[in-house]
């Protein structure tokens, strides 16, 4: 058992920024991540970011991860534990940790949950054949571990992740046979989609995977056109011979800890699934538990970083640490987050958020 003022669970962009912001105000922070490295999803993102100038626009995700990780490791206020999984939040306000195979409990005064999100998957006959991956998993395989996933790939989902990973597959020399999108339009940013189209990858809109084939592992799939009611149209089937299928159909917040801690949750499709009620300061309905990043709304890294700043500052402030231009920084971060969500791309998130916001101090 050991004590810490603030425990931050998850070392992705939200958690890293939360740690830096809290430490800067003077709080002692313990940052844990179940991976052997910090950076979360950033480490596999080899493409450049748009985002705001303040949040490292035009940098690659992996570079941002390096910068933030270095800052965190250099801070004498932040203790980092990797290969460490938070197992549960208990009634005595402790958090149980599994640290490289050993069990420990901590009694933090504040907790920031920044556990991110996990990939959704699709169910169809043989959807469990080896060779069928989440797009994010393929990205990790290639960009973090340097492993080619296969020779001929099809991608399901033409959102940002789907098209970006398709492009990275092409860059790695993998043949991308098709991108299959159930919606009647492409969801990702136009620039990304245009890149893969120029390289000759067909994008089948209003199509879905009907079935996968293969004995030991994936050998091919059948796709078909969808009607206005999203039902496959008989006679439109196309066979694709592939050894890898990437599925990129969105993310769901990783909220087990919040549920278990008793935070009030709500299913909000615009935010990616079950998400916690939170105050403007990103405190949940359980006093002392804050949230930041994809765990409270599936967005993107810039928003996660700013949310991390807000949660880190607010949690530190609630402990009395307000030494470093606190009020101004908190206000700036809140404005910046609102700004990031201002455009049409943020509309979905905005429409999901208003119902979930609780007044500060409403936490129990």
């Amino acid at each position: 058992m050991f004590d810490t003022e603030m425990l931050i669970i998850g070392g992705g962009p939200a958690g890293l920024k939360a740690a830096l912001s809290a430490a800067e105000q003077g709080a002692d922070v313990l940052l844990v991540d179940r991976n052997p490295y910090l950076g979360g999803q950033l480490v596999k993102q080899t493409h450049m970011f748009f985002g705001s100038q303040k949040q490292y626009a035009s940098e690659r995700g992996v570079t941002i991860a390096e910068i933030l990780t270095r800052e965190v490791l250099n801070s004498d206020k932040i203790c980092v534990l990797t290969d460490t999984t938070a197992l549960g939040y208990f009634e005595d306000k402790s958090v149980a940790l599994e640290i490289k195979g050993t069990f420990k409990t901590v009694y933090p005064k504040r907790v920031i949950v920044a556990t991110g999100a996990q990939e959704n998957t699709l169910i169809f006959p043989n959807s469990d054949l080896p060779g069928i991956y989440g797009a994010g998993a393929v990205q990790t395989l290639m960009n973090v571990h340097g492993v080619m996933p296969g020779a001929r790939v099809a991608m399901v989902g033409a959102g940002n992740i789907g098209v970006i990973v398709s492009y990275q597959l092409l860059q790695a020399g993998v043949e991308v046979v098709a991108i299959i999108e159930a919606a009647p339009r492409i969801g990702g940013y136009h620039v990304h989609a245009a890149k893969v189209r120029r390289l000759g990858v067909p994008i089948y809109i209003a199509h879905t995977v009907v079935e996968a084939h293969g004995r030991e592992s994936l050998e091919g799939i059948t796709i078909a056109c969808l009607d206005e009611k999203w039902q496959p149209v008989k006679g439109t089937e196309i066979e694709l011979e592939i050894d890898v299928l990437c599925i990129s159909v969105g993310l769901s917040p990783l909220t087990e800890l919040l549920f278990q801690a008793g935070c009030k949750m709500e299913y909000v499709p615009q935010l990616g699934g079950h998400v916690p009620y939170r105050s403007e300061n990103l405190e949940t309905t359980v006093a002392g538990i804050y949230v930041a990043g994809d765990v409270c709304a599936v967005e993107e890294a810039s928003a996660a970083m700013v949310a991390g700043q807000i949660a880190g500052l607010a949690a530190a402030g609630s402990l009395g640490y307000k030494q470093n231009n606190y009020e101004a920084k908190l206000k700036d971060a809140k404005n910046e987050l609102a700004g990031l969500r201002r455009g049409p791309a943020g509309e979905k998130v905005r429409s999901g958020l208003w119902a979930l916001t609780i007044a500060a101090g409403e936490a129990v």
Binding site: L87, G88, F90, E91, D92, A96, F103
Partner: protein, 385 residues
């Protein structure tokens, strides 16, 4: 959700193993218009959270008979209920460990009683115990008791098997339907008010598990049943190597390898307060892991993957309350199972159905009526974890 029925002969409260099995037995006897209401979902109570061990090694005649007869039913239950998935029933035995002369003496009495009732249990020496469970650490062990026909089953499958069979015979089963109050007319139950509407009825069966006293209160009864949290955890699945259940009464724990390879284990906390809290604690898993690995050192490298808790419906003498209440006609209770309601449910439900239908139950269950508490005639079950 479809509208619930406005009228029924019997309303059963609680979708655990007891509610489902009573519903089935009533329907099988030909009773019509049976309704079962469950405030959450089937198996959401103790049944879906339990260890689902089935033993006949008890210290009172009643518990011995209820479990012995239930074992007979379990043996062919999947076929009887025409349940295609099976109930994962295994008879791999139970080994009870004795660490004090007093415990050993109690086991000897229990085994004599069990044998007299046809239960094939026997006392074992500590060396024999190690033959039964080869990786057992027998330091300090004075011996034990073993019954090879004890075992376990899958509580979800068993409950769903009963429920589906009941539904096929016309029972209406409503989940997400909470009983809010019960109305009486001239000393008889006449209506159950639920969150989805009221149901006029002649008979109410209280199988609400840890909430049984709350239901009793609705008709003005003070049932001596109270809820108590019990915690439990499960490991990753591994190849089968510990076949029987091991129980240690003096250290309040039990552990068993399930059909699919996971070890499931729990312990009772003598200091657990009464109450509805079912939040797990980390102290539980740490303490239990220490105890288990001292008795079964082979399990040291096993990973725990999940822990949870449920409510025991406790009764002061650790035996259930069965039967109709003389004060409120038509109000039947089957609760107070004190941690062993799953294993005795099949036979208990059969007896309950007989009592509800006004027949003489196959065996006399009067001593389990709740009047025993007023008269002070308690027979304490000594063999509980």
């Amino acid at each position: 959700m479809a509208m619930i029925k406005k009228k029924a002969t019997v309303v059963i409260i609680g979708g655990g193993i007891l509610g489902a099995s009573v519903a089935y037995n009533l329907a099988r006897q030909g009773l019509k218009d049976i309704v079962l209401v469950e405030k959450s979902y089937l198996t959401s109570g103790a049944t879906g959270r339990c260890g689902a061990g089935i033993r006949q090694q008890w210290g009172t005649e009643m518990n011995c008979i209820l479990s012995r007869e239930s074992v007979r039913i379990f043996e062919t239950l999947a076929e009887e209920l025409e349940y295609p998935y099976g109930i994962d029933y295994r008879q791999n035995g139970y080994l009870l460990l004795a660490y004090s002369p007093k415990e050993r003496e109690q086991f000897s009495k229990n085994v004599a009683l069990q044998n007299s009732l046809g239960i094939p249990s026997r006392q074992v020496t500590s060396a024999e115990a190690r033959d039964i469970v080869p990786h057992l650490n027998i330091d300090g062990l004075l011996g034990g008791a073993y019954c090879h026909t004890d075992g376990h089953a899958n509580p979800f499958h068993v409950t769903f098997a009963y429920a589906r069979a009941a539904e096929r015979m016309g029972v209406n089963l409503y989940s997400n339907t909470e009983v809010l109050s019960i109305e009486k007319d001239k000393g008889r139950v006449c209506r159950v008010v639920t969150s989805q509407g009221s149901i006029d009825c002649e008979i109410v069966v209280n199988t609400a598990g840890g909430h049984a006293a709350v239901i009793g209160e609705m008709v003005g009864l003070d049932l001596p049943v109270y809820p108590e949290r019990h915690q439990i955890m499960i490991s990753e699945p591994v190849d089968a190597f510990q076949v029987p259940m091991v129980i240690c009464m003096s250290h309040h724990f039990y552990i068993q390898q399930t059909t699919h390879g996971s070890f499931i284990m729990g312990q009772g906390d003598p200091n657990e307060p009464k109450g509805f809290n079912i939040n797990p604690s980390w102290q539980f898993s740490v303490e239990l892991a220490k105890k288990i690995t001292s008795v079964l050192p082979h399990l040291k490298s096993l990973n725990i993957i999940r822990q949870w808790a449920g409510l025991y419906d406790m009764c002061p003498d650790a035996q259930p309350i069965l039967g109709e209440s003389p004060e409120v006609k038509g109000f039947f209770t089957a609760s107070g199972f004190s941690g062993h309601g799953f294993m005795i449910a099949p036979y208990t439900a059969k007896l309950m159905a007989q009592a509800i239908l006004g027949e003489e139950p196959e065996i006399n269950i009067d001593i389990l009526n709740y009047h025993r508490f007023a008269s002070g005639q308690l027979i304490l079950e000594p063999a509980v974890v």
